[in-house]
């Protein structure tokens, strides 16, 4: 039986399988699957693992997630209050950094795996690894050095500090966030995560000017990737576009997987990557809530026509809001399985 890992490895190596890999990021839907509240769901790693396995089995896509919610990283650095919704992702309600003195006080634990806030994720990872390790890629989400301060102090305060200083506080915070990033990456790898989504809105020219990207973002990206290596690492800018920087990121870091924005021109992204890595086309899943079945199929087909020629292509989703009807998720995935078959391509298209 062909597994998700088989499909992913084939796509990365420019080979073929029955179809391209299809990644579906169902997170909050796990609570729905188990019939419990999001707060109950996210307090137990066993529940998250169980729902991840059930959802993958139910829909047949190729990955599972160890991510609970993005604010978990803030909890690892001392955040004590998360606000839970009944129909959407939990949010950081109490920022760790409220004053400059909090930056000086911020301590990065030596062993992330030993942190109580990591305990449930570790349980989840162990269960996922035992159930599908080596057969279905286990994904982890890791915020880049330059983006992590936004989780610790709020994006507005971080933008103020980043662009207006004081430089010493900014640099101290970035150094600590880099230290955390490296340790967190190590912890996830040791726990069995295969696909490490490196999330960095500051790596997108929707977020920062190209000049800033070259002078400030890119050096931190290089530092991050140099410290942890490229295996399994996926470049992702939190749904923001980054076609304009793919070439330079690829040349400077050697990263081989690019998880585009739904707003990026997919064909252009594929052309820029030019067989040097895996292009991940991401559907605009915010529209999945309202799209008709025909619209969903049409969009998936359009994306496949743009991304599939030449192989080295993965179909993925973005934030997958809780409110997407289950039948729309199924329609999208079935269309991806249908239109994502390599045999739909002319043989010479594949290298």
């Amino acid at each position: 039986m062909i597994t998700g890992m088989d499909r992913l490895v084939a796509a990365i190596n420019g080979g073929t399988s029955d179809r391209i890999p299809v990644f579906c990021n169902l997170l909050d839907q796990g609570a729905l699957e188990l019939g419990i509240s999001l707060q109950e769901y996210y307090t137990h790693g066993e529940r998250v693992a169980e729902a991840q396995l059930r959802l993958r089995e139910k829909y047949g896509y190729d990955n599972v997630w160890s991510l609970f919610y993005v604010g978990k990283e803030a909890e690892l650095l001392g955040c004590r209050e998360i606000i839970f919704a009944k129909d959407g992702p939990p949010n950081v309600a109490d920022f760790v950094i409220k004053t400059p003195a909090d930056i000086h006080r911020l301590e990065v634990p030596d062993d992330i795996s030993a942190q109580p806030a990591f305990e449930e994720e570790l349980k989840c990872l162990r269960l996922l690894r035992a159930a599908v390790g080596g057969r279905y890629p286990i994904c982890a989400y890791i915020t880049a050095t330059m983006a992590l301060p936004a989780l610790l102090m709020g994006m507005d305060k971080w933008m103020e500090l980043l662009f207006m200083g004081p430089a010493a506080d900014r640099d101290e915070l970035l150094a600590k966030c880099h230290d955390f990033f490296v340790k967190e990456m190590r912890a996830y790898r040791q726990a069995g995560a295969d696909v490490l989504v490196y999330s960095n809105p500051f790596g997108s020219t929707d977020f920062v000017p190209m000049k800033f990207f070259m002078e400030r973002s890119l050096p931190w990206i290089e530092k991050d990737i140099t410290a942890v290596g490229t295996p399994g690492v996926v470049y992702y800018c939190g749904m923001a576009r980054f076609n304009k920087v793919i070439d330079i990121v690829l040349k400077r870091t050697g990263l081989g997987v690019y998880y585009l924005s739904p707003l990026d021109d997919l064909e252009q992204g594929k052309r820029i990557i030019a067989g040097r890595g895996l292009t991940c086309g991401v559907i605009n899943d915010i529209k999945l809530i309202d799209w008709s079945q025909a619209e969903i199929r049409h969009e998936v087909k359009r994306m496949m026509e743009a991304g599939l020629p030449g192989g080295r292509f993965l179909f993925g989703t973005g934030v997958m809001p809780y409110g997407i009807p289950a039948e729309n998720i199924r329609t999208m995935l079935e269309a991806a399985y249908e239109f994502g078959q390599y045999e739909k391509l002319e043989a010479p298209c594949l290298r």
């Binding site: 919704a85 959407g88 949010n91 103020e160 997108s204 977020f207 000049k211 915010i286 529209k287 809530i289």
Partner: protein, 222 residues
């Protein structure tokens, strides 16, 4: 420095996200006798308009530039207005906040920064604002517009967000007097979402929001 050169120099600094340089340009202009009124209405506001034009032409304009343009505009306006010969005419008023359950305040901060220079008064209700409060505060402040920012799909579409504000306005017969504008990431990914949540308008970014809010105020006052 002529006014045209001043605008160019200020704009360059703003587009470079260089606050110190932008403020230096303004200070040099003040030292050379450019009036506070000219600084706001002939330099700061045209710079915002230029950024809106660049956005509409799909040029390389990004969130950091929006943020810096708005923060610098607010800073300069705050400093210049007390020096005006006459108090400026306020064109209207908005109450603004993030939807209930939403704690993301960056978009709102960008919007309010730009409103100052446009002489639109705002009452910032903060984050996680209940729908009833949006309406109560708008009525109390005689605001023409309610601005609701939402960064997440469930807060943009949820029953305690814009939909509820619309329902309350309808129940109280206030729809002709108070318009609703929405903004935030989900609206950028679905340009029809503002209709689904029954807002009167949406803005793609914080800079453009000032223009949209100004137009809604004019609509109410017509």
């Amino acid at each position: 420095m002529k006014l045209e050169q001043l605008i160019i120099a200020y704009n360059e600094a703003v587009f470079d996200t260089d606050r110190d340089k932008a403020l230096q340009v303004i200070q040099a202009a003040v030292n050379n006798g450019v009036s506070p009124e000219e600084i706001v209405f002939d330099v700061v506001v045209p710079a915002i308009e230029q950024m809106i034009k660049s956005i509409s032409e799909d040029m390389d304009v990004n969130l950091a530039q929006h943020f810096m343009a708005s923060q610098i505009a607010a800073e300069v306006t705050d400093e210049m207005v007390p020096r005006f010969k006459h108090s400026p005419d306020i064109i209207g008023r908005i109450v603004i906040g993030t939807a209930q359950g939403d704690l993301h305040s960056l978009g709102k901060q960008i919007v309010t920064g730009c409103l100052k220079a446009r002489m639109i008064e705002y009452i910032d209700l903060g984050v996680n604002v209940p729908p009833e409060r949006f309406v109560d505060e708008a009525v109390a402040a005689h605001a023409q517009v309610i601005g609701i920012s939402a960064m997440m799909v469930h807060t943009a579409r949820g029953e305690d967000g814009c939909l509820k504000v619309r329902q309350i306005l309808e129940e109280r017969g206030l729809e002709d007097q108070i318009k609703i504008v929405v903004g935030g990431a989900p609206f950028r990914f679905d340009h029809d979402l503002y209709k689904i949540v029954q807002a009167d308008a949406w803005a793609e970014d914080g800079i453009t929001a000032g223009k949209v809010i100004g137009e809604l105020i004019q609509e109410v006052r017509r």
